[in-house]
Symmetry: C2
Subunit: 205 residues, 2 copies
DNA sequence: TGTACATCAGTGAACGCGCGTTCACTGATGTAC
DNA sequence: TGTACATCAGTGAACGCGCGTTCACTGATGTAC
């Protein structure tokens, strides 16, 4: 028996999967990016994970709970990227630019996941407290940086909303193909963002 | 026969509807706002309009074409509101504030319609040229105002994208309940926007 | 170390549902004469 | 003004489909003794 066949049979003979919950989320992320959100159903996910269609219900109460888990994974990864890229930067403006850059780049690299994270299906879900908390992380990161400014001529809360709106709006429009970066002669996303944030750079010192 | 019964019977006996296309779009707008996008199906629309489920296919090739028509109506009304509110204003900043105000207020007053207009289902539709054109109107309006500035220290295209992103992002976040206006002590949307646009008012003269 | 047993993850079949769409048809309407 | 006819909007029945979810079950696994 060669190793491929062995792996297959190992996969086949396993009755208890062991890590089905995580595997379902991974499958969801893959299918999401490959085929889009409409292709995500309990049945396709189960099949993709090599399990019967009813098996996921041992780990998720219903489809909403699964989608919430997938989205939460997305928000965690997004926040992680933002933190990673912004640490080590000095100066408010530089850190804001990095946060925004991470936001946009994450969304572009994970279009469908980003769309899921802000889809109306997900927005309709109240009663997933951890999801709401994780989703609020990017706002907190921006707010935290802005509150460290020397001169606070501009109210931090308003400035945070402004920056966050700008960041989210720009990202949404890019992901949904309403803005084509190439048309702006900006070599890359970072240059584009620097240009955009530059509009109110004087408020960021 | 009283007038109500007469109206009913008139409605009943009519074989040819006469204005079915428009009536379907109206029904869609009503159901949309009342029950949300998931409740819109060819069948429910037909039923709501008092017609058999196959009748809509005399006016729309398929569901996509109908949704595109509904969204296009939305974009037209949005552009109309923006024009209405901005005309008569003097000064770039005032006009930008009015354009943004109209955008946000339209979205708040027509949440579900706005969500449809920027939904992934609609984004997936290429090949509806008139839809794309109508959808681009709000961008054009902002761009047109900004190009009238005296001193063009900031490139108009970048500034337009910045403002549009801010406008769209703010709107999206409000409509999706990520931002609660009450928490900001702003009496109304206009005050809030004035505060937000004020961040880079010096670039708007 | 070996056995009995409780637990519960995953099975396989079935449910009911609403959906988009097709199709042969019917009958209201407007037009040409 | 009245009739014949072409058009085509709307009918009613049917199609096939994938979906979320339930349910009684089976068998792998870990633990207590």
């Amino acid at each position: 028996m060669d190793s491929a066949a062995e792996a297959f049979s190992q996969k086949k003979i396993k009755y208890h999967h062991g890590e089905l919950r995580g595997a379902l989320i991974e499958s969801a992320l893959e299918i999401l990016e490959r085929e889009g959100m409409e292709s995500i159903s309990m049945r396709t996910l189960a099949k993709a994970t090599g399990v019967t269609q009813a098996a996921p219900y041992s780990h998720f109460r219903d489809k909403d709970e699964l989608l919430a888990a997938v989205a939460e994974t997305g928000f965690q990864r997004l926040a992680l990227k933002m933190v990673e890229e912004a640490t080590g930067q000095t100066g408010v403006q530089a850190r804001i630019e990095k946060l925004m850059g991470a936001y946009v780049r994450f969304a572009v690299a994970n279009k469908k996941l980003f769309q899921l994270m802000f889809s109306r299906e997900l927005a309709a879900m109240k009663n997933y407290p951890t999801l709401a908390m994780t989703a609020g992380k990017s706002y907190s990161l921006i707010s935290a940086v802005l509150s460290k400014r020397d001169a606070s001529s501009e109210d931090t809360r308003f400035l945070t909303v402004t920056i966050w709106s700008l960041c989210h709006g720009l990202t949404t429009l890019i992901v949904d193909d309403k803005i084509k970066l190439e048309q702006f002669g900006a070599d890359d996303i970072d240059a584009f963002i620097r240009r955009t944030v530059g509009v109110f750079s004087d408020k960021l010192s």
